[in-house]
Amino acid sequence: MKQKLNTALCAFLLLCSTAFGSGFQINEHGARAMAMGGAFTAAALDPSILYFNNAGITQMSSFKLMLGTTLIAPSSTFRGVSPAIKETKMESQLFTPSHFYATYQITDDLFAGLGFNNPFGLGTKWPAAWDGRFVSLEIEVRTFNLNPVIAYKVSNNFSVGVGLQYAFGDVLINRDINFPPFAGTANVNLKGDATSAMGFTAGLMYKMDCDLNIGVSYRSEVKYDFSGTASTTGGPSQLAGRLPAGDISASLTTPQQLVIGASYKVCPKTLVSADFQWVGWTSYDSLKVNFTDPAQTDLASPRMYENSYIIRLGANHQYNDLLDISAGILYDRNPVKDQFVDATLPDADRLGFSLGAGYKLMDNLSVDAAYMFLRFYERTINNSMVSYSGNAGFNAFNGTYNSTASLFSLSLSYNL
């Protein structure tokens, strides 16, 4: 078993890449949860409840395993720079945030579990010669979060849970720079890793009566300290000493979040649920990259994110003993102010629609599949504080962003 677990974890590390959420949060950590629009905080339907509300693992009897991944295919276009309306398409990429959960009932009232997720991530890549190349060519942030939890059934109606977040991650930033009045451009690549970032999680689950569940879940901020190197290629060798290069450090604090949810069994086979998710994005006020070499100019770009929220509605229906189906809707309010929206993350408020089904393959093995479509509101920026002319002075990077994303998720659950 241990062997299997190790193999599974290794597979994860390879698979796990990054993605996409409001800001750069990823909320898709289980196929059934995604199918229900993510309204899962009070719906302990499978082991992914460990992520959504760790107190909910008290509803997972004996020993359960769940493993899955989500394929995220975002699509974005930028039209501009205003007043021009030339369209640039973001390069298509596929991200695979993945999830693993194990829950174990130690005693009648005490439960333990281990989760593994990619709770934050971001990836955008634009064509090499596009107008915004001094803003961004490629950016990729990946985080990996190992989440051991224990939960205790205080009474038949009330459970509490706490957990530890042990996180690590990496970041890649790539863009072009210029050297006016000199000819030519160079490409700057910043790469860094962060290890042993810590945080915690906590949850409450309260059963009002046999039909109504209330859940509250909290995930703390996690501060990642990235360290790595900067390198520059293609610039004039005569300016070699002046090009960004050498050791760098940067820190990133992912936001805390509080989710309150309720689920209600409207009939014995049908459950509806609703979540309100508050995300404390003000933790992300600027992106700073510091060079160890004092001769290098540190980079800082303001982000000034605002706190945001997501409203989720979902339903699950047990069609027969083998098949259950789910659907959901969500509205996700983005945290980025107009003036700071740029090509690194073309964020916008969005609507999500999801569908899914679960099927019992064997007595102890079931599979869940889900599809979600995210439609971003068209976002036109006309007060950008991001410059797209590199070192040649300030020119606002104004234009119109349109994005959609398709997400496909698959999870396997196994009862021992």
Partner: protein
Amino acid sequence: MKKIINVLFSLSLLAFVFVGCESRTDLTAPPAANTGSADFARFVTIGNSITAGYQSGALYASAQNYAYGNLIAKQVGTTFAMPLYSDPGTGGRMEIKSANLATGDIVITYNANAGAALNLNYAAPYNNLGIPGALLYDVVNATSSADCGSAIFAGKPNPMFDLILRNSALHIGSQFAQTKIQHPSVVTLWIGNNDVLGFATSGGASPTAPTNAVQFDALYRFLADSLKSLNAKVVVANLPDVTAIPFFNTVGPTLALKAGWTKNGLLGLFIQKHGAAAVDPTAVVDSIGLLTGKVDLTLPASSYTPYLGQPTGKWYRDVAASRGLPLAAVLASIAGLDTTKPFGFHPQNPFPDALTLDADEIATAKTATSNFNKSIDSIATNRGFGVVNINTMFNGIRSRDFAGGSYYNGMKFTTSYITGGLFTLDGVHPSNQAHAIIANEFIKVINAKWGASIPSVNVAQIPGSIIFGKRINFDQYGIPRYPYEALSHLLF
């Protein structure tokens, strides 16, 4: 209860259809530039090297594409054919060999390679009829390298006339004739710089005087009348003060600050005055004079400043070699010359005339420019032409050099050599960004005069144009910061 599920499912499905398929790309393209009563259907620019987009001592495509004429053409969306020449261009392009921007220590080399003409078979005259080296005289008269002003007056045929006018194939004639045959609707003319610049850049040596002011006025009048007859909208530009460019303002002030005059007990730099037949112990300029431009040293002077204070006759040996004259004859042309004395620091071994612009020469150049501008302004205004006051604009930039610089689209510029951003490595010709600034001056005049609202060029979106060289052509030891050869072929 199934109902709720069904409703949710149907809603989701419907939503997919709605939001998935709807096109959100309802933005409208910006309207074409309003050119007022000026019709840019057939747009021609006439001029010299600046109009041609010549930079850093060569004509090459990546610079020609940013010639102000082409930038204007892009703003109004008209076609603009150019005599493009592939990089590194027509030969001898100056490039940066090494640069330490912190200390300002920049070493320049030149690219010995040449490109090839890319647009030679274009079946009509070019829209950009700027010809490097063209004098005012040439616009109406020159049809080839054989009959251009420099061939007739100085015995130096200028092959640029063949390259751009292509009369061996087109048989149309001068810059003006090639303009006329295009039935242009808008013409810009920026000419006359070389009528004073040739005198100034050669330290007053060749030619020995700027074009005569009366002659200039007559030639300009004739040209203006000819342009008037085309019934086109005509915009002309006047001439900046040539002595204000880095070609004249880089070496002197640097030397003034770095030679340690007082410490070394030096009176100043002894110079050979323009046209003097003998050395002159009174012809001396102190550090203040060098700093403030009482006497200017040209950029090629930097090839000889390393020899200051040495008992050397290098300059005269170089002159003898380049002209194929016996050294004795060259030395004998200046009475009292003694090259065993410290070069530049002794009255008997003065700094050469051809590398200096003394106070009289500066005055001559300034007077000529001012007279030419008077002619240009009055002749053009009388004929209803638009006049772009480049002189005033440039003086404005210069006056702000030590007051924080001048900003265009958030980008800072000064008239300083290289780092100022306006001039390329030859110290004379405007950079890509400077062309954008010039284009915007033309656009301002066109907008005001003909009720147009052509948008300005975004200066900060124009790429830099000072080229870094990959080859090292010179050894470390002669300290030719500025190889004399790099400038010997220069056209203006």
